[in-house]
């Protein structure tokens, strides 16, 4: 191609490509827009979307499987075994609750939305919802406290557990003493002093700890 034809060819290409471009843009201008007016209109999320964690505390049995499954340790659970005499109710799946869950915190700021905590849950009380608008001005607000037990309830529960433990230890001690006494009796009478000494060391500590413990604890116990 000579310089002459290249020159005119270039001009032709410049003009025609500009025309093609203008045709495309004007077509785009009249074609419908794709913008979603976000705060007013929201996008339908897919069914299995993994966003904010939701936890149904009523169904929690305090097994801590979710906390163990979490790869970033964002679930913080504190549990306390309830005395078997205490009735904590049942989960919606019909499982008996046996453990006090005194604390169930999820730090959603740490959460990586992997969903690994959802599957181990035996009562299916953990769920990933489609809620994605949970920004906060304060980072501490991102720690969700799902536990519904109030401090008072926790103290009561602790007291109950304590009492039960004490009863148990007392029972054990009594049983041990009995057994020892029986043993001693069975062994022979030559050592009679062993029988009275056995219960005495057990009883005083029990008597001591019982009043001492409430004093150490917070006011809630006094209210009770």
């Amino acid at each position: 191609m000579t310089a002459f034809t290249t020159y005119f060819n270039d001009i032709y290409r410049a003009v025609s490509s500009a025309m093609i471009g203008m045709k495309i843009t004007i077509k785009q201008m009249v074609s419908p827009t794709v913008t979603l007016q976000y705060p007013h209109v929201k996008k339908q999320m897919p069914d299995r979307v993994r966003n904010r964690l939701y936890m149904n505390f009523d169904d929690c049995i305090g097994c801590e499987l979710c906390a163990k499954a979490c790869p970033v340790d964002c679930i913080d659970i504190e549990v306390m075994k309830a005395p078997p005499t205490e009735s904590l109710g049942e989960t919606s799946t019909g499982q008996k609750k046996r453990i006090y869950v005194t604390k169930f915190d999820i730090d959603i700021a740490k959460c990586c939305y992997c969903g690994l905590c959802v599957f181990p849950c035996p009562t299916e009380c953990l769920k990933m919802t489609d809620v994605y608008e949970f920004s906060e001005y304060d980072r501490t607000n991102l720690i969700y406290n799902f536990g519904t037990m109030s401090p008072v309830e926790i103290e009561t529960a602790k007291l109950k557990v304590k009492q039960y433990d004490e009863e148990q230890t007392a029972k054990k001690a009594a049983a041990a003493a009995q057994a020892a006494a029986a043993k001693a009796a069975a062994a022979a009478a030559p050592v009679p002093a062993a029988a009275p000494t056995a219960p005495t060391p057990v009883a005083p500590p029990a008597a001591q700890t019982a009043p001492a413990q409430p004093a150490n604890q917070e006011p809630p116990t006094t209210q009770l």
């Binding site: 203008m22 785009q28 201008m29 419908p32 827009t33």
Partner: protein, 347 residues
């Protein structure tokens, strides 16, 4: 010929009106164009643009203006204060002074001088001085580069632009913009883009050259107002807004206003030269002073629209491409047109 002076017979009021009406028009026009440009840009990209303030965001330009009005006016410590402050006003002054000879209607023209379009070219050249001044005074390498590019660009594109104007002046035999418009009166077939008010043979001979001149002037005017694809002086991606990098608040707003005013000015020149100015396309129908201003603004806005349309279509040219287009394409073509028109008009 009736003019505003002869109608009102009150020199002071006429002067004030003639001086202020274009300014008021420009301010309203700038807001409308700002809104229109944002909307067009958005719709070309399948977006929606402003939607929150007022119906479809119609109040947004007013909010933007209020924001600019109350913004802090920062002057860099290392800047040349005097020139820095002077530059935006000079840019706007150059543009606004050119509006003196723009015939908005058969009765409304600021100054009906015989050198009309020559004065317009001269006055709008003042813009280059203002842009260079702003770039130099900002004491910022981006601004300086922007200003230098702008000077190089405007000076080189003024040549094909003025040659195109020369071609039109040769055809119409006048530089008075009001007379230029009146010569094309009588309907769409008398507009210069369709050969003008001449005998058929001459008309047909003029037609291709008029079209060429129109394209040449349109392109060079686009370069003169620094709009894409010729927005190298502003080149956001490389120069961070070029000469107005350091400007903020009202000074920035004045640059913006000047850019939009300049855009309308070159559109007005295109309209006056090729599209019959304020004349109605239907001859006597819908003609008259008020209809005249309507047609003028409508035609002007069409070219503003064309400019915006091109802006959101084409990417920015390279500096060497820019110079190539000006010196190697537009200028020879304009010269060729002038020679051809000379022969046609003599015959």
């Amino acid at each position: 010929m009736e003019t505003l002076q002869t109608i009102l017979r009150e020199p002071i009021i006429t002067t004030v009106l003639l001086a202020l009406i274009p300014l008021v028009f420009l301010l309203i026009y700038a807001l409308v164009t700002l809104y229109g440009e944002m909307k067009m840009a958005a719709h070309i990209q399948n977006r929606l643009a402003y939607m929150e303030n007022g119906w479809h965001g119609t109040l947004q330009p007013i909010a933007d203006m209020l924001k600019l009005l109350q913004k802090e006016d920062i002057i860099p410590t290392a800047a040349d204060k005097f020139l820095f402050i002077l530059a935006p006003y000079l840019v706007f002054m150059g543009t606004y002074a050119s509006f003196a000879v723009v015939p908005f209607s058969s009765v409304f023209i600021g100054s009906n001088i015989d050198l009309g379009i020559f004065y317009l070219v001269a006055a709008s050249s003042l813009v280059v001085v203002g842009l260079l001044m702003s770039g130099w005074a900002s004491n910022n390498k981006w601004s300086l580069f922007g200003a230098l590019r702008s000077a190089a660009q405007i000076v080189s594109y003024e040549i094909p632009g003025v040659l195109a104007i020369l071609g039109v002046v040769m055809v119409l035999g006048t530089m008075n913009m009001q007379t230029m418009t009146q010569l094309q009166d009588g309907g769409i077939h008398n507009w210069l883009i369709l050969g003008g008010n001449f005998p058929l043979g001459q008309k047909l001979a003029l037609l291709p050259f008029m079209f060429l001149l129109f394209v040449i002037y349109l392109l060079s005017s686009m370069a003169e107002v620094n709009r894409t694809p010729f927005d190298l002086p502003e080149a956001e991606s490389e120069l961070v807004q070029g000469y107005n990098t350091e400007y903020s608040g009202m000074k920035f707003a004045i640059f913006y206003l000047a850019e939009y005013a300049n855009l309308f000015l070159v559109s007005a020149v295109v309209v006056v030269m090729f599209f019959g100015g304020w004349t109605s396309p239907f001859g006597e129908f819908m003609s008259g002073p008020v209809w005249g201003s309507f047609w003028f603004v409508l035609k002007g806005m069409f070219f503003v629209f064309l400019n915006i349309w091109l802006r959101w279509t084409l990417p920015r040219l390279r500096v060497d491409q820019l110079m190539y287009v000006s010196w190697k394409v537009l200028t020879p073509f304009a010269l060729f047109c002038i020679i051809a028109i000379g022969y046609i008009m003599v015959m």
